[in-house]
Subunit: 290 residues, 2 copies
């Protein structure tokens, strides 16, 4: 199968490597708007060739939108327009083309194409894997192995398309979970988006202090690094996520700020019993995170 | 040299392993108030034998206090009392005994023994290494390799004692940094203590949600785990740290809550330019954390 990957960053590039290496894709065609990244992707060998958007959508059997969600919201209808215009086999036809996105928020994407005539050729997916690095140079083999991939609103896609996408994620060694896009956005606010916000805030707090205390980071140990590492994440990716999942994220942030204030109050009052009980409660995370 | 380690948890136990294995200690005597932990430490082979507090202090050349800081504040003067009573060579004598602590907060310890007649036999140290696990079963070889160790108020200890302690940390492959205990407590509030509080609060936030959404953690990815892992840390260790370093921690928490609120406001107002600029500012952490 010919696979087109639009956006050759960490996610698109890592998919390209393993889909080719593991035999799922006979050819990978890349689309990348940043000339430096496009040249690097070719040089690294992530893709077989680079084309423009139209050529890519025309040539391939499956399109992967691996761009920031703000861009995906604009591109997804454009891909579906071309599918509709090109008499794309029609649902149930084995030759039908498929487009997937790999974005971290889903509700706005789903709403944007809900009534599109080619909607059933789109499968909404979120492979839950990544690192804090970005760009084609961050792409790596094995990035997705063993992680979960969420497929959203599968009932709005035709079964053939879903089956093809499941076989793609099977090749990437991911286990797929189905849920609707609205639940997806609530869940990811809790187990992914809030972690990024807390890391950003932690980095800002310590960087502020560093203005007076140049050597403060000499003392940073592994615990600090692990808590703050997501603060290296790309603004191109995270600005639209925080915007598109605004209401859920605000809700989680409010709970979080409440918990911080509870801690603050217990510490300020010297209430060691209360501090201990909050820590013990937080320790229940041991059951869950290895 | 005979080394006595009081408190056979992650830090005391890991020191025991490498000080013996690397030839610094000819014998390791352990003291441990929890019978299960004491038996485990013997069985694992962390120490050569277990004695009570008095015997240990009498027999060894160097005492390591590896207990939570709330306990260390009580034990340190007791060790120094025994040094003073035992005509402990006196400063400058090669036979003089030395006691160190390995706690994460220093100001209250320093204040507690400031005028003790045997003060100069005490060296305040903070090896900046650890994991989120605790107990003798968490002890491991190599825990300290390559990390920084802070020596506080070195001018209040006799130079011979400081030299012995430096050679101990040299064996553990740590680089030593000197500062006063008050600066130490400010710095660690920023690069260690706040990370723990943000992790505890994150765990509490998500665990709260889990009450309604049983499967929320199926989706947790590497980023979430790394941000929340410190929330597994022991309440025995962290309750006294948060209490002893109260004022510094409250100050850092206030800055942190301010940053969170700045983010919240930018997201709530849909001000993408402001969100982007906060993320870009936070990204400056890339310069610092590998």
């Amino acid at each position: 199968m010919k696979v087109g990957i639009i956006g050759l960053g960490l996610i698109g590039g890592s998919m390209a490597i393993d889909l080719k290496r593991r035999g799922f894709a006979s050819e990978i065609i890349g689309v990348e708007s940043e000339p430096v990244n496009a040249a690097a992707a070719l040089k690294i060998g992530l893709v077989d060739r680079i084309t423009d958007f139209d050529q890519c959508v025309e040539k391939v059997d499956m399109v992967v939108l691996a761009v920031p969600v703000g861009v995906a919201v604009k591109m997804l209808p454009q891909v579906l327009d071309r599918f509709a215009a090109g008499q794309n086999g029609g649902p149930g036809k084995a030759t039908a083309k498929v487009v997937i996105d790999v974005c971290s928020t889903k509700e706005q994407l789903a709403r944007r194409v809900k009534y599109h005539p080619a909607r059933r050729h789109y499968v909404a997916t979120h492979p839950m894997a990544g690192t804090e690095y970005s760009g084609p140079w961050a792409a790596m083999s094995g990035l997705f192995d063993g992680h979960a991939c969420i497929i959203c609103d599968a009932e709005d896609s035709c079964p053939d398309a879903v089956a093809k996408v499941e076989s793609l994620y099977d090749v990437l060694n991911m286990r797929t979970i189905c849920m609707n896009s609205s639940n997806h956005d609530v869940h990811t606010a809790y187990v992914s988006h809030i972690s990024h916000v807390t890391s950003f805030a932690l980095a800002l707090t310590v960087l502020d202090k560093e203005k007076d205390e140049k050597h403060i980071f000499d003392l940073a140990s592994g615990g600090f690094s692990s808590t703050v590492r997501l603060a290296k994440s790309s603004p191109d990716m995270w600005t639209p996520i925080l915007s598109q999942n605004r209401d859920n994220i605000l809700h989680v942030m409010d709970t979080y700020i409440e918990k911080m204030n509870e801690f603050r109050e217990a510490i300020a009052e010297g209430d060691e019993a209360r501090v201990r009980s909050l820590i013990e409660e937080a320790n229940r995370i041991r059951r869950i995170i290895r």
